[in-house]
Subunit: 243 residues, 2 copies
């Protein structure tokens, strides 16, 4: 089930806030990406890298278990890309993240988990994130009362000697990352967020970061699973194409 | 500034959830109503009265103070209608409610306050509510990144021997209550929530409760401040009309 959610709250270590316009995309096959750009850039560091965080993975980078209560779900993330890890930022979590998801009657989803920024044996920090499902087939942020959607679900992957990357297209929303394998700095990271306009075929760029941001695929409706498409020298594989 | 917000979270006494589709309307002149219908009715009592709460007041029933930081605001509510008070529900707050509002960079608003369900000298219960601004001029719940809107702001009031009531029209959204003066039971309460369709002039009823729900005004575009309109025997005064 392809889906897209907007985060409305992030709470950790007693602080509650939402500084980003975070959208998380999950494809029909379970590939995922969460792009978390800051709304306001208040410092030089924030202007240089205007993201709280980006993470992504294929269905092989997550385990999902539905509980029998029909309300909660466990998700264990084992990110393929975690920008904190990629950038070697100290005092951030390494390894799998165990989360519990509760669907409220209003349709909002509460995610709860614990991260270990000071290592496995260090003190854990509980966090909460609250997610509002939005209609993936609209070009605006239209609130939806259920995490449910029909429609396009296409995923592109690159994993070669030079790059790794993932682009997840859910309904009208496109989010992707492309990172240098032998990198590890901000200038080796690239992100994109596009939305197709109500009148199909035209895309608006909402986020675009990185010197290789021209290497993302830009044609999503004519591909089949197994296809290879090349964008300015980077060859992507279509690992999923529900059109 | 007319505005409408959807609540996404209610936290009190350590419980965090959102069971309602709550919309709060504030008119240009500061009249307000918050209608909080339950999404699912799980018990007989919830089916009989499918609201968590409804409150409302004119600008004389609230004090708003903007803090100098440009981020926070104090609001002291002195409700004209508070359904808990009207229905005489025990262990619910009486009197003014002091709240603090913080606007996050994402545009969401965190409301924090304390209520005293066991009386003024009893133990206080801290609560948090999180609000997502929506576009008042759309007939769907379209997320807006700021609490800011232009457009229609019309308020109707009735206050006679038999009834008191308020209808606040903000953009395309209409919310109102009508209550019997000498009542005090659920059958003396009436609520309405309407939204005007994208093609102007046609209204969809989203909530309609009570035996007198046919006594709400239903024409909003041809009125002037000071007008009186009668709806099935109840005469309403137009106390505000920004068209």
């Amino acid at each position: 089930m392809p889906a897209i959610c907007k985060r409305v709250l992030f709470e950790a270590g007693g602080n509650v806030n939402e500084r980003t316009l975070t959208l998380s995309s999950v494809s029909n096959d379970g590939h995922y990406i969460s792009v978390r750009p800051l709304v306001k850039k208040n410092t030089e560091a924030e202007r240089e890298f205007p993201f709280e965080w980006v993470f992504a993975g294929t269905k092989d980078h997550i385990e999902v278990t539905n509980e029998t209560d029909g309300v909660t779900q466990k998700q264990v993330f084992d990110f393929w890309l975690d920008t904190n890890v990629y950038l070697g930022i100290s005092n951030t979590h390494r390894g799998k993240v165990h989360t519990k998801w509760t669907t409220w009657e209003s349709g909002l989803l509460l995610e709860q988990g614990t991260v270990f920024p000071f290592g496995k044996d260090g003190e854990g920090v509980d966090f909460k994130e609250l997610w509002q499902p939005i209609d993936a087939n609209r070009d605006e942020l239209v609130i939806q009362d259920k995490l449910e959607s029909q429609g396009r679900s296409v995923t592109f992957k690159v994993d070669n000697n030079e790059y790794f990357g993932l682009v997840v297209v859910v309904g009208k929303w496109v989010q992707g990352f492309l990172a240098k394998k032998n990198g590890g700095s901000k200038r080796d990271l690239n992100f994109v967020r596009l939305v197709e306009s109500a009148f199909a075929g035209k895309y608006t760029t909402l986020e675009r970061y990185g010197v290789d941001a021209d290497k993302f695929p830009c044609e999503f409706d004519t591909v089949k699973k197994g296809d290879h498409v090349t964008a300015n020298g980077v060859q992507w594989e279509v690992i999923e194409a529900h059109l």
